[in-house]
Amino acid sequence: MAQLNITTREVGEVTILDLSGKVTIGEGSVQLREAVRQLLDNGKKKILLNLGDVSYVDSSGIGELVSSYSTTNKNGGQLKLLNLTKKIQDLLAITKLLTVFEIHESEDAALTSFK
């Protein structure tokens, strides 16, 4: 079984990636990188990562979130985070990344913020 499952949904111009499982060094991080890369290649530049079902993240996974954010920005897009678990929130807070990402607790509010 894959460490990380990614399901893609589109709501208007926003693409939501529902992540479930582990975002860790190796497979999980690579899958996320490729999913974001593919969206950008297809001109999908409004990306919302739903992390509500992510059970485990390590420093590589946090690094991949940062990379995804930077890559999206460089391509003229926006990448935002939805439904952070307490653990991910703590990991982002400790490394001062909570201020870097735009974070939402409600999907509706997140979708509205892209308009």
Binding site: I25, D58, S60, G63, Y69, S70, I94, T95, V100
Partner: protein, 140 residues
């Protein structure tokens, strides 16, 4: 009374989860709170990943040894690789504005955040050893 437990794994990322299971099990048996046990597990995960990737550079003939020293009030985990080591004090701070958006460099920072002590030494028979210690809180 001190108890010890030692594991040796090949430098393969798929074995990291195995070490993590043992860490969680040992921390729970010692009575650490679930949150603390999860952070200890993450710290050891980061140390073992570093040992495999930076220390042993994924070489299949180089192992990573993980030793648990279980005391009534504290758990220490020693992670040994066969690399040249590094200076803990010379690592860039990932929270500096210049480093904030770098994709790597947070592993040891997390170890320090979640453990009470983090040290590094050179093993007398070669390689580098990272020591992670977590003390139990008074009520645990």
């Amino acid at each position: 009374m001190t108890e010890t437990l030692e594991l040796s794994i090949e430098s393969k990322l798929e074995f990291v989860d195995l070490v993590s299971s043992v860490v969680k099990s040992v921390a729970a048996k010692m009575g650490f709170a679930e949150d603390d046990a999860n952070w200890i597990e993450l710290a050891v995960h980061e140390a073992v990943i570093n040992a495999i990737t930076h220390g042993n550079k994924h070489a299949s003939d180089k192992s990573v040894e993980v030793k648990f020293v279980i005391e009534s009030e504290a758990l220490s985990i020693f992670v040994r690789d066969r690399g040249a080591g590094f200076d803990l004090e010379q690592l860039p701070d990932p929270t500096d504005a210049d480093n904030l958006l770098k994709p790597s460099g947070r592993g040891i920072f997390y170890m320090r955040a979640f453990m009470d002590e983090v040290g590094r030494s050179t093993h007398p028979e070669g390689g580098s050893v990272v020591r992670l210690t977590k003390r139990k809180r008074p009520h645990q």
